[in-house]
Amino acid sequence: MEALLTTAFLTALVTGAVTAGIPLLLAGLGEQMSEKAGVLNVGIEGMMLAGAFAGFFAAYMSGSIALGFLAGAAGGFGVALLMALLCVRLGLNQIVIGIGLTLGFEGITALLHYNLFGRSYPRLPAVETLRIPGLADIPVLGPAFFDRPLIVYIAVALVFVASFVYRRTNLGLYLQAAGDKPAALDVTGIDVVRIRTFAVLTAGTLAGLGGAFLSEVGAGLFVPFMTNGAGFIGIVLAMLARGRPFWVLAGAAIFGACLSLTTALQVAGVNVPTDVIQMIPFAAVMAVLIIFGRNAHLPAALGIPYVRGAR
């Protein structure tokens, strides 16, 4: 075991945790806003995949990672537009449409990849990092946190932005009301449909960014179905966080660390099936729920389409 605790190993472990955690963080933050506004967004997995493919493809064609992230965000936004139209404007069942979009974009991205690249998986060049002088020299933590691509800092900054919006702005209040008591929001003259549309579109954009992160920074290539449940973990993070962005950050860190530990132990040649380690975060969350479960709370109108004047 002592061989495991070298600086190199720890650095790889923490760096990997950040890399694995960022997509979960982005998806979780997006889903959180959507759920806050009353829309259970099961399509988040499809949005991530759309972002992963669009991001990869744009970066591959243009050679620009930044353009890739823009395309990824646009991909997620596009799927979210469908979701917003169907579930917010028309009020269709959010679970049916969400699962439909997830299945659909699993298929579409896989088909596109197959049509454009066949059975080859071209790689993207390594993403340039933004080194923060001084901090980056701290052993282990420096390379993991302060010598990363720009998007990592943006993702973490978004936690603060989201927290500020929810606590200090009218928009935060509107989002909360759209999920808890949409009729009350409507009475004050704010369009519930518009607020919810905004939330879903933001969720899609963030999920798309998360997907693009997976393909551009995490893997450096696109593989069909590569999100592998990350969107669902995002849903779980959002529900566990109960509206608090910093809890999403904490959750993403824990899940990221476990995912990273899986790879790191494999590399180190430790003979534990990866499945055992993959179980840890889920088992931990269940344990937490069993111990502290009583305080669970979700927005009252979660999952219910808002129709003006109905009941």
Binding site: L92, I95, G100, G104, G107, D275, M286, L289, R294
Partner: protein, 362 residues
């Protein structure tokens, strides 16, 4: 309005009486969108450089009209129907059991662990029944923690069942790789139940009799939910848990029962797929049926008969698509796109139909 109501599936109104009008709207609301989805995806096929007509004809021919294809389709229906039965109970009672895949896999692994060993000492029929009962028990047990948390702590079951399904998928792999490993093979998998000891095929065919277990499950669940006092109680709990409490129903106990039944049926689906079709579980095997069945059950509005029709249709596309991937070179992913387009268009058509009716009433 509290959370349990809020994310509760829309409650079915009175069942539509089969009048001419009903049939006409059925055609408009069901057949129309399906055709439209075919048309829509035909465009995608054209763009990808395939002949859509040839593809569709092949899928239908393979899935329905070729003898072997139809047999595969009907065999594939068994686990899907059992998942559907599992979901109908849960959704009608207002419980979001999204953990079907974990319950399925653990049921499958336990059946695959018990079957090949037990069959060496016991008659086939005892083995098969024992496998199915064990799988049901395991599926039910795997849903116990979400059930208790939901019933007594009010913890949202979407989180807990999703958690348990991730946990279950990994746990199933651990079991296959570490405990129930067949030492005779190089790839990690469980021991194999010999073909002659599996569920019988229907005479003269290769259709697994698991189909009847699936059909029976859906029909029994449908009748219990719509025709019995027990079903009515569950539907009341689903429609309005507070009212159910006022009516003197033990909501907590009923919740646990619903979870056990739902998890048990998902576990049974795993056993039926193993003792009927595959014979063993390989590491990392996860067909993820449950996720695809959720929208089917919704579109059927939790009605058992309609669910059977949707499941048949889905199985045709699934089997036909698998075969087309090998023969025509249209990847299997295309089936996902086609099915997803259908889900969305069907939901849209239902919305349009409701709007039309609302206009007629006013």
């Amino acid at each position: 309005m509290d959370e349990a109501q809020a994310i509760h599936p829309p409650h079915d109104k009175a069942a539509a009486r089969p009048t001419l009008e009903a049939w006409r709207s059925l055609a408009l609301v069901t057949v129309g969108p399906i055709l439209l989805a075919f048309l829509f995806c035909a465009l995608a096929l054209l763009i990808a450089g395939h002949d859509p007509l040839a593809y569709y004809l092949y899928v239908v021919e393979r899935g329905v009209f070729s003898g072997q294809g139809l047999q595969q389709t009907l065999t594939r229906m068994a686990p899907l129907l059992l998942h559907a039965a599992s979901l109908i109970i849960a959704f009608r009672a207002g419980i979001w059991n999204l953990g079907g895949d974990g319950q399925f896999l653990l049921g499958a692994v336990m059946a695959a662990a018990l079957g090949p060993v037990l069959v060496t000492v016991a008659p086939d029929w005892i083995t098969l029944i024992a496998c199915m009962l064990l799988a049901m028990l395991v599926g039910a047990l795997w849903s116990l923690v979400p059930a208790l948390l939901r019933a007594y702590q009010g913890v949202n079951e979407i989180i807990t069942t999703l958690m348990m399904t991730f946990l279950g998928t990994s746990f199933a792999n651990v079991l296959v790789k570490l405990i129930f490993l067949d030492p005779a093979t190089t790839v990690p998998q469980t021991r194999t139940l010999p073909v002659e000891d599996r569920l019988a095929w229907l005479p003269g065919t290769t259709i697994s009799s698991g189909l009847f277990i699936g059909l029976a499950a859906v029909i029994i669940v449908h009748l219990v939910m719509t025709r019995t006092a027990f079903g009515l109680r569950l539907r009341i709990v689903g429609a309005n848990p507070k009212a159910a409490l006022h009516a003197g129903l033990s909501v907590s106990a009923l919740t646990v029962i619903v979870f056990a039944l739902s998890g048990g049926l998902a576990g049974l689906a795993g056993a039926v797929d193993i003792v009927g079709v595959f014979g063993n579980v390989r590491a990392d095997w996860n067909p993820a049926y449950a996720l695809a069945v959720v929208p089917l059950v919704f579109l059927a509005r939790f009605n058992g008969w309609a669910t059977i029709a949707f499941v048949f249709f889905y199985a045709v596309l699934d089997i036909g698509g698998e075969s087309a991937a090998r023969r025509i070179g249209v990847p299997q992913y295309f089936t996902l796109v086609l099915v997803a387009t259908m889900f969305i268009l069907l939901a849209l058509a239902e919305w349009l139909d409701q709007q039309r009716r609302a206009r007629q009433r006013s």
